[in-house]
Amino acid sequence: MSLEIRAGARLSISGPSGSGKTLLLRALALLDPLDDGDVSWQGRPVRGNEVPDFRRRVVYLHQRPALIEATVEAALRRPFSLRVHCRRRFDRDRIVGWLEGLRRDASFLGKPVGELSGGESQIAALLRALQLDPAVLLLDEPTAALDPPTVAAVEGLLRNWVEELPDRRATVWVTHHAGQATRVGERIVHIENGRIADANGIP
């Protein structure tokens, strides 16, 4: 299969469980060794030591994110200790702004990660990725554990995030929920048995 993601794109990937949606996202982030083929960034295949820098721009968000730091704030600060992000700083106000949009306040940052619910972990992981200003966000069922009002808030937040800088941002959203697929994607790619079965809206 072949897939191209352009700036400003909001792509949905739908399909039954086990059809290979997660595998496709992981492959796009180069997280698993590819049997065949390659992933290109701006027309050039990405290999070797270019990979961390590529992942700075193309961030994959796990369905059940891992947080092992003590508090949400510590978890959000963690990426800035990595070499690819060392020139950037943690911006607390920006995070608090996003939190307000998600019906949470600054106290969320002080929560111990051990006490977070599944949905709260997803919010923390989403903000952790968003603050890094990636070009492409690969979202693997990012709202699976959230309540409906927060789901709507996350969908809105990510739509605005792309529309803010449509020449530099894109989202690829994996969901098995048909309604959500149409809401979050202007293009829907349907996957079955590891193949693109129907690429609705792809020229």
């Binding site: 982030a29 180069l30 997280l31 698993d32 060794p33 290999r47 070797g48 030591n49 990979v51 961390p52 820098d53 992942r55 700075r56 961030v59 994959y60 968000l61 796990h62 059940r64 994110p65 891992a66 092992i68 963690r78 990426p79 990595l82 070499r83 690819v84 992000h85 992981a125 952790r128 990725a129 890094l132």
Partner: protein, 271 residues
């Protein structure tokens, strides 16, 4: 150096053995059910040590060639390398090779330092490959390095298996493979080093090391015995550290690809 010591003969061994028999009788009277295992353990002690005595007597025979001694040392190193991965909870392809490479490089380097720089075998009349020094020194270093390698590898596998999602999350956020694996690597090396650091902390306070006790019983002046023991502790610590570093880093290289991917499928749980 005073070298005479009181020789032990069979009657003395028999007295020591009777103590074990007394313990077995106590176990029998109190119905502890330990007597069989105790006697079996005692029997094994006798048989194994007699065999080792025989082997050492054979190895220590005069006029052994350098090739013979080096071959012996190689066999010991291989056995230790295999033994170190025997009980690790997680495996990957090439784990044995990594263990043997690490065991070989660290223990032979340290033994060479011990023989030529510390003991300075060349001062004496015997050749450098005199088994009296080379074999026991290597043996002690191997025994401890084995612990370090085994604990380090075991911990590395466990850490990577349990923190798999965390390692992948870091990679997904742009971490290099080194940044993503650093936590598990540190834990693994630390775990491998704990036993030797502990024993250096309490040596002489809690127990007298076997080698020093043996030298004292054999009539070596305490000051000499202590010096030997200090040297041995340092050699063992150095061998253990080098072996543990090496095996953990080799394992890390196998678990992560050049494209900064965590190849977690290569890690399998031991059946």
């Amino acid at each position: 150096m005073r070298t005479e010591y009181l020789e032990l003969d069979f009657p003395q061994l028999a007295i020591a053995a009777s103590l074990i028999v007394i313990c077995s009788v106590i176990s029998l009277v109190l119905q502890l059910g330990l007597q069989r295992r105790l006697l079996l353990a005692a029997l094994r002690t006798v048989v194994q040590l007699l065999l080792v005595g025989l082997v050492l007597w054979w190895i220590f025979a005069p006029e052994r060639s350098s090739l013979f001694v080096v071959g012996m040392m190689g066999a010991m190193t291989l056995i230790a390398g295999f033994a170190a991965v025997d009980r690790t909870g997680h495996r990957y392809r090439g784990i044995r090779l990594d263990s043997i490479i690490s065991m070989w490089a660290s223990s032979w380097l340290i033994t060479a330092v011990a023989l030529f720089a510390v003991v300075q075998v060349q001062r004496g009349e015997q050749p450098w490959y005199d088994p009296q020094y080379a074999i026991p020194l290597l043996g002690m270093i191997l025994g401890n390095t084995l612990n370090g390698i085994s604990l380090g590898l075991n911990r590395l596998g466990e850490e990577l298996a349990t923190k798999r999602r965390h390692v992948e999350t870091l990679l997904a956020l742009g971490a290099t493979r080194w940044e993503a694996a650093r936590g598990p690597i540190q834990e693994a090396i630390r775990t491998g080093m704990i036993p030797i650091i502990n024993s250096m902390m309490v040596v002489g306070l809690v127990s007298l090391p076997g080698m020093m006790t043996g030298q004292l019983l054999a009539g070596v002046p305490p000051v000499q015995a202590v010096r030997y023991q200090i040297v041995i502790m340092f050699l063992i610590a150095a061998g253990t550290s080098l072996g543990t570093f090496s095996v953990v880093l080799l394992g890390y290289r196998r678990m992560f690809t050049a494209d900064h991917q965590f190849a977690s499928a290569r890690l399998t749980k031991r059946r």
